[in-house]
Symmetry: C2
Subunit: 500 residues, 2 copies
């Protein structure tokens, strides 16, 4: 394509003095359409416009619209479900006192990688910026949180409860359901070792799942202190990372694969059996914990046991149904990071997708950045995994409009009346879409049907003369005539009578 007026990009990229809308260079390209439309838009002819036109109408190659590998667009129906899920998460986080923060998408690579990350890493979108700084796009929200609290700990005070819903980027090999750009939904309580915060974390996860609309789910908890107590007792303290990483694979890989991995890590047949037997223990939490109290001697293990015992007691008192909470000694979480209570959450109807909300307690969030001891506890909602699950379970509807009420532009002479009526309905809390073009009514209603509107409000000359509206229930196909003054009530009643 030939650029029309040679406007330097720098200039067109500039945010205008009055707002943010700008299009680099496209201004000059777009200008060519004056000519295509001919008489309708007899606008100024500028140098180069003709070239632009020639380029396009003669079929010069346009730029192929496409997204990068591992990236994707969100169309309205997906995005509506996504926004609803995020809204629910925010509402629950907020109801427990977690406050939002945000951090930049770009950070110094040193911050994200630590000083060990001098060598370039393939999984990071990392580059040199205009100031020749070594920068990278954040790959999670935990490292930025560590930097954040190290910088503002004194201003924020403790406990500091924050949620952070933000996009992160990883240059991983894209796989089915795994993208290079995704949203994380974290919440954490920083600056306290109190078990109350651990219990509250559990309650947040519970209320999240409940509010999203899941009936059959199970939060599985464990405590790293207990696992470490076992390993200590078995004399396997120096293998703990390898053992916990192997154990973490139990639900997906199965016991035989885990057994093999543990033995490769140097565990004896007996030790492997002991760990797997331990991980398989089931039963009432009270019974399991009573047995652990006798078996594990370290102070740390005893502390872990008492913390879990209190968690089960208080959760029940606070109204968490017994069948939604389980003590699962096999839960290890892969990362060294965790030091206390750990959480995973499974959908009982789709256990194979893995945990949809996981987290745990850690002793030191920000050691990389500060001497200050910053323990905390938190978890992360697996947004994409949850959306996939909801789709599979039929929990998402396929509507692609946020509105329920559709107003066809039946008679363009009455645009003012349609738009005024729509604003009146909006003031009653309704979401109303007015069709902009006076196409045949059938076409307009087909559009409404495809988008998933629930009610149409229609009027033509006759209705305007009589001061009435037709309220058409698009789900049931029924229709009522109502006087203008009763319209909002009639629409609300029609919507209220719909199932769901």
């Amino acid at each position: 394509m030939i650029v029309g007026d040679g406007t330097p990009l720098r200039r067109s990229l500039k945010r205008g003095s009055h707002g943010h809308r700008s299009l680099p260079d496209c201004g000059s390209r777009v200008a060519s359409r004056e000519w295509e439309l001919g008489a309708v838009h007899t606008k100024a002819r500028r140098r180069g416009s003709m070239q632009c036109l020639t380029g396009n109408t003669m079929g010069e190659k346009r730029i192929q619209p496409r997204t990068l590998k591992g990236f994707r667009d969100y169309l309205p129906s997906t995005m509506l479900a996504r926004e609803q899920l995020i809204d629910t998460a925010r509402a629950v986080y907020r109801s427990y006192g977690f406050a939002p923060i945000d951090t930049p998408a770009l950070e110094y690579s040193e911050i994200l990688l630590g000083k060990g990350g001098e060598e370039s890493d393939k999984q990071l979108f990392r580059f040199r910026d205009q100031g020749d700084r070594d920068v990278a796009m954040r790959f999670d929200l935990t490292v930025p949180l560590a930097r954040f609290v190290a910088m503002y700990a004194n201003d924020l005070g403790v406990p500091f409860k924050r949620y952070h819903i933000g996009t992160v980027w990883r240059a991983e090999k894209p796989q089915r359901g795994r993208f290079r750009e995704f949203v994380q939904c974290d919440f954490d309580t920083i600056g306290t070792t109190s078990n109350t915060a651990d219990i509250e974390t559990l309650l947040v996860i519970h209320d999240l799942m409940d509010r999203i609309g899941f009936e059959r789910f199970e939060i599985r908890v464990n405590n790293r202190m207990i696992l470490n107590g076992l390993l200590e007792q078995l004399g396997l303290r120096d293998r703990s990372t390898a053992v916990l990483r192997a154990l973490d694979k139990l639900p997906k890989a199965g016991p035989e694969a885990v057994r093999t991995e543990m033995q490769l890590a140097g565990l004896s047949h007996e030790d492997t059996n002991a760990v797997l037997e331990f991980a398989r223990r089931g039963g009432e939490p009270d019974d399991v914990l009573r047995r652990l109290r006798r078996e594990l001697q370290t102070d740390s293990a005893q502390e872990g046991i008492e913390r879990l015992a209190e968690l089960f007691r208080v959760a029940q008192a606070a109204g968490v149904r017994e069948d939604r909470l389980r003590l699962d000694l096999s839960i290890a979480r892969g990362l060294d990071y965790y030091t206390g209570t750990i959480y995973e959450t499974f959908l009982l109807d789709l256990p194979q997708i893995g945990s949809v909300c996981s987290g745990g307690r850690y002793d030191q969030l920000a050691e990389l950045f500060t001497r200050q001891q910053l323990p905390g506890v938190g978890a992360s909602l697996g947004l994409d995994r949850l959306l996939a699950a909801m789709e599979e379970l039929g929990m998402l509807d396929s509507r692609s409009t946020p509105c329920t009420v559709f107003v066809p532009l039946f008679d363009p002479q009455h645009t003012a009346e349609y738009l005024a009526m729509a604003r009146r309905l909006r003031s009653r809390g309704l979401a109303v879409d007015v069709y902009p073009d006076p196409k045949p009514l059938g076409k307009q209603l087909k559009y409404a049907d495809r988008k998933g509107f629930l009610v149409a409000v229609i009027a033509g000359e006759d209705e305007f003369a009589r001061g009435v509206w037709q309220v058409k229930d698009l789900v049931r196909g029924t229709q009522n005539e109502v006087p203008d003054a009763d319209l909002a009530d009639a629409v609300i009643a029609t919507l209220g009578a719909h199932p769901q």
Copy 2:
């Protein structure tokens, strides 16, 4: 810092099989705190942990926590205001039938720059990714929208009404109030030339400002067809870009600067006077438009006049107050992009900050990517500018918690009762924060005061024995004792009695 166990970054960067929480390499660093805490965490000793410890406790340099130049963190009080503003924008957009979409932060540079952008541009965060692709971070939401509609136009159908609230990046020189990362809040109606869509755009802007809480604002409208009609009549068609760009600076730079710029662009003294006289015209829209109808002969100018006339007529009928809408012939908008109605929005109490919501109609959104004619109209809310204005006008409160109700952990024996009570209040729609540590009550209340809680619910041994709670109004300093069964009602009544 010395890295403990040499875990390759690739491995630790991997999303775990159970969720998204991970910390690259930090696992090994964090592990060192086992030793610092000594007996409390008698965990596995791993190779290298001791080195880590030595490094840290001996004062080896930590990484300085900092953000990149031109980037910033959002602390809770700012972020709460930001989320509220975004929620309002979303609610208004949705109530008019605009549906959300999202697009990737990273795109092929070719997409963002057009083919003219082969030469590197300093304002773009642009780099080669791991697959050696020439990629860049999006600098606005309009180019991605153009690509998006070019790709999905057939699936989406027209009219396509979307909003897009997303972060964009520009490597501009940072200035006061201008950052390299900011959020845009756009809405557009694509695929129709109907003036109804133009009028609706105006109504959306109006309702946005109204719902955000502004009382004194003015939406100024103009139409490019009218400006172009004037320039045509003056024989200045070939100067239109220069003239419109100069005119766009009128509110900020003043008439003398604009006059100078026009004359530099080659306009005669008479032409400059004619344009400036035209731009200065005020009065009732009806009168101004009537005069224009006589003066401007082109079909296009006549069409622009009629579209504005209908806009004023319908807006008034739809309930837009007369003083909030103004015909302003001086509004040009800097970009070639616009071809019809244009909008700017000023706060009458802070006119100097410029337009806080701007936009307009364009004839061809996606010519770079498709032969399909995609006209549209839309606008963009200047989120950061608006937040700055709200702060200046005292419209933001300084609370840093999303909760209203604070529950001190007065007696840790009763943790279960506090947490259960808090959940009961939440089920009544209240947001409740339970303090996790059993510190002295005074300290806990000081925390509540600093964060901006409005009510505290307190109980100790005596209250538990009698089945009552103390409800303390933290704003007024009053306190009431209420029976357990009446607690939620009492808290709601106390909050309801607060001003605002």
